[in-house]
C-alpha cells in the first residue's frame, strides 16, 4: 500500500517535471504574440461574430499559429455588439491578458468606442470590420495606434454612385437603416451619383432591425428609376422579399451588407438581378479566392462573407509584419508604421494603405445570379462581379484635402436637395 502511494507520487512528480520542461522549453525559445479578438459571440450579431472569428482562425491554422517565429495566442472576448461592453472587454484584454494588439468590433459605435482605449492604454487596435468613416478621417489624429484593414462605410459607395450614373439611372430613392453606417453609405453613394448628374429623390430611414417594411415600401416614389437599399443583418433578408412581393420591378442597388454572403445563402430567388458593391465577393474569379472559398466552405460549411475574408486578411497582415521583425514584437508605434507600409495580395485583391491608415483596394460592383461556380454541383446565389474599380481609396477621386473639408456623412449631409 505504502509503496503503491510512493510509486504514484513519484510518477506524478516525474509527470509534473516533464510537463514543466515540455511547457517551458519552447516558451523560452519562442516569442509570444498575444492577440485579443473582440467579436459578438452571443446576441443578434453572433452569426457575424462567428464569421469573423472563423476567418481569423482559418489563417491561424494555416500558419500553424506561428507568425515569423512568434507563437500566436488568440484570446477571444464577447462584446455582444455593445460598445460599452466592448470597451470593458478591451480593457480586460490589455490589463489582464497583456495583449500586444486587439482586433475586431463590428458596429461603427464599437469602433468609435474602442479606438480611444487603444490611445489610453497604448495598445494597437486593428479594425477589421468596424467601418465608421471618421476613424480614419477627421478623427484619426486622436488615435495614433489605430489602423483599419477593412473599409470605410462610404468607400465602396463612391465608385458605386459613379457606376449607377454611368448605367443611365437618373433618379434613385434610398431606403437605408437609420444609423451612422446607413448615413455614411447613402452619403457616399449620393455624393458620387449627384456629382455625376444623378438625383437622389428620396431618403427613407427604417429603424435598424426593421422586419416589416410594409409602411415604407409604398412610399417609394414611382418616378425613381431604382432603389438604393442599405440593410443590415435580418433586415437584408426581409427587404428584397417584401419589395418584390409588393410588385416592385425596378432595379435594386444594395449597399455592401445588403447582399453580402452572410445573408445571401439564406435568400430566395427574389434577390436575383439585384446589385451591390463591396471590396470582396465570394464569387471573385481568382485562383486565390477559389482556394479560399473551397477551404473555408469545407471547414465551416458555408461560403465566406466579407466578415471572414477581412479577418483572414488581417491575420495575414499581422503575420507579414511579424515576419519582417522575425517574430519580435516591434513596439506599438513601430507595428502601426510597418503595417501601414504593407502591400499585400489578399484574397480580395491587392491591398495597400493610404496615409490615413485605411486600405486602398479594389471595389467590386456585383450582381446576384443563380449559377454553378467553383465546381459545386448545385446552382446557388452568387455575387457575380460585373465591374472592378481598382485601387479605390476612401477619398475616391476627390483628393484627401478636398474630401476632408466636407463634414462626415450624416442624416442631413449631403442635403437631399432633390427631395420634396
Amino acid at each position: 500500500m505504502k509503496s503503491n502511494i510512493a510509486a504514484r507520487l513519484s510518477a506524478l512528480l516525474i509527470g509534473i517535471g516533464l510537463a514543466f520542461t515540455a511547457g517551458l522549453a519552447p516558451a523560452a525559445a519562442q516569442e509570444e504574440l498575444r492577440i485579443g479578438f473582440i467579436a459578438p459571440t452571443t446576441g443578434p450579431f453572433a452569426q457575424v461574430g462567428a464569421d469573423m472569428l472563423n476567418g481569423f482562425n482559418m489563417y491561424l491554422e494555416k500558419a500553424n499559429s506561428d507568425f515569423g517565429g512568434a507563437k500566436v495566442k488568440l484570446i477571444v472576448e464577447d462584446s455582444q455588439a455593445k460598445p460599452d461592453l466592448a470597451v470593458t472587454k478591451a480593457r480586460k484584454l490589455i490589463l489582464e491578458d497583456h495583449v500586444q494588439l486587439f482586433v475586431g468590433g463590428v458596429l461603427a459605435s464599437e469602433g468609435y468606442a474602442l479606438a480611444p482605449v487603444s490611445t489610453e492604454l497604448k495598445t494597437v487596435y486593428v479594425s477589421s470590420i468596424a467601418a465608421a468613416d471618421d476613424l480614419t478621417q477627421r478623427q484619426l489624429s486622436n488615435y495614433p495606434l489605430f489602423i483599419r484593414t477593412g473599409w470605410t462605410s462610404s468607400q465602396p459607395n463612391h465608385p458605386y454612385g459613379q457606376w449607377a450614373c454611368d448605367q443611365g439611372y437618373k433618379k434613385i430613392a434610398a431606403v437605408a437603416a437609420d444609423y451612422a453606417f446607413g448615413y455614411e453609405q447613402v452619403g457616399g453613394f449620393q455624393k458620387a451619383f449627384e456629382d455625376c448628374g444623378g438625383k437622389i429623390v428620396q431618403k427613407i430611414w427604417p429603424p435598424l432591425g426593421t422586419k416589416d417594411f410594409g409602411p415604407f415600401i409604398p412610399t417609394i416614389k414611382s418616378d425613381a428609376d431604382a432603389v438604393f437599399s442599405l440593410m443590415v443583418g435580418p433586415m437584408a433578408l426581409q427587404f428584397p422579399k417584401q419589395i418584390r412581393d409588393s410588385g416592385y420591378t425596378k432595379p435594386i442597388l444594395g449597399g455592401g451588407t445588403s447582399y453580402d454572403e452572410a445573408a445571401l445563402p439564406f435568400m430566395g430567388d427574389e434577390a436575383i438581378g439585384d446589385f451591390s458593391a463591396l471590396q470582396y465577393s465570394a464569387a471573385l474569379q481568382t485562383p486565390e479566392n477559389e482556394a479560399f472559398v473551397k477551404a473555408f466552405r469545407a471547414k465551416y460549411g458555408k461560403v465566406p462573407s466579407y466578415f471572414s475574408e477581412s479577418n483572414y486578411t488581417t491575420a495575414m497582415m499581422i503575420e507579414d509584419v511579424m515576419k519582417e521583425t522575425h517574430g519580435k514584437w516591434p513596439g506599438a508605434d513601430e507595428f502601426i508604421a510597418k503595417m501601414a507600409a504593407l502591400k499585400v495580395n489578399a484574397v480580395r485583391g491587392p491591398v495597400s494603405f493610404d496615409d490615413m491608415r485605411n486600405p486602398v483596394q479594389n471595389i467590386y460592383i456585383k450582381k446576384v445570379e443563380k449559377t454553378k461556380l467553383f465546381g459545386y454541383d448545385k446552382p446557388e446565389l452568387w455575387n457575380i462581379v460585373i465591374k472592378t474599380y481598382p485601387n479605390v481609396s476612401q477619398f475616391w477621386t476627390y483628393g484627401k484635402d478636398t474630401f476632408l473639408k466636407q463634414p462626415v456623412y450624416s442624416r442631413d449631409f449631403p442635403p437631399c436637395k432633390n427631395c420634396e
Partner: protein, 334 residues
Amino acid sequence: MIMTDERAKILAVIAVLAAVALIVPHTTSFLLLLATRVLVFSILVMSLDLLLGFTGLASLGQAAYLGVGAYLTAILATRYHFGLGYDFWLVVLFGMLAGAALAAVFGLLAIRASGVYFLMITLALGQCVWGLAYRWNSLTGGDNGINVALRPSFFGISLANRITFFYLVFFFFSASLLLMYVFVRSPFGRSLVGIREREQRMKILGYNTWLHKYIAFVIAGAFGGLAGVLWVYTAGIVSPDNVVLTTSVDALLMAVLGGAGTLIGGAIGAGVVIFIREYLSTLVHWWQYVLGGVYVLVILYLPGGLMSIPERIRQWQTAPSKSPVTEALAPVRN
C-alpha cells in the same frame, strides 16, 4: 430584539463594504474595473429599489435618469471642458438635478397610474429619452454615442488612476447607500412602505399619497442622475445602449434578484449579474445558462431575493418540516 437584529445587519454591511474597499484594489485591474462598474450600477439599482421595494412602484424607465446624467456629463466634458477639475463636483450636482428634474416631469405623467399601467408609462417615457439619444445626432452623437477620454483631476489627485477612481466611486456608493437608508428609515420612508402595503388606508389616514410617491420618484431620479455622471467616467463612453429598455430591465432584474426593499440587495444583484455577464463570459461560453439558471432558481425558491437567504436558513432550521413553496409564497405581498 428588532433593534439588535437591525444593528447586526448594519454592522454586517459595514464590514462587507470595508472588506470590499480593502481587498478589491489588491486584485487584478480587470476585477477592479468590474467592481467599479458594479458600484456605479448599484446606485441606479438602489434608486430603483426606492420605488420598487419601498413604494411599490415597478418602474421600467430608470435608465432614462442614468441617461440624462451621463449625457449631461459627457456633453459638458467634451464640448465645454467642464467638469474635469474642481467643477467635477458641480457636474455631480447638475447630474443629480437633471435626473431629478426629468423625474419631476415624468412623475407628473406616471404617478397617476399604478401597477402595470405605471410600468407601461415609465417604459414609454424611458424609450422617449432613448429616442432622443438615438436621433438627436448633433447633440448626442446618435448611435455612436459620445466618448469621454479624460477623467477629472482635482486636489492634486487624478482620477485617471484606477484605484483612486475606484475609491471615489466607492465613496459615492457608500454615501448614496447611507442617504437612501436614512431616507427609507425616516417617517417619510415609513409612510412610503405604508402606501406600498395599503394605499387606500394611508389615504383615509389623511396622507397625500400622490405627493409621497411623487417625491420618492424625484429622489430616485436624482440618484439615477448621479449614477449617470459616474458611469461616463467609468465606461469612458455613453451611447443609446445605456438608455435603452434593456438597461432599465437589467436594473429591475438586479433589484429583484438581490431582494427588493433591502437597498443593499440591489448592489448584490448588480454584482452577481455583472460578474456573470462580464467576468464569467471571459472564462466560459455557457455563461448565459448560468445567468438564466440564477434568475430561475431565485424566483422559484427565493422570492425575497438573495438577501433573504439568511432568513430562509433560519426558517429552515426552526421549522424544517414546512414546505418551501408555501414558505416562499407567504411573503408575497398583495
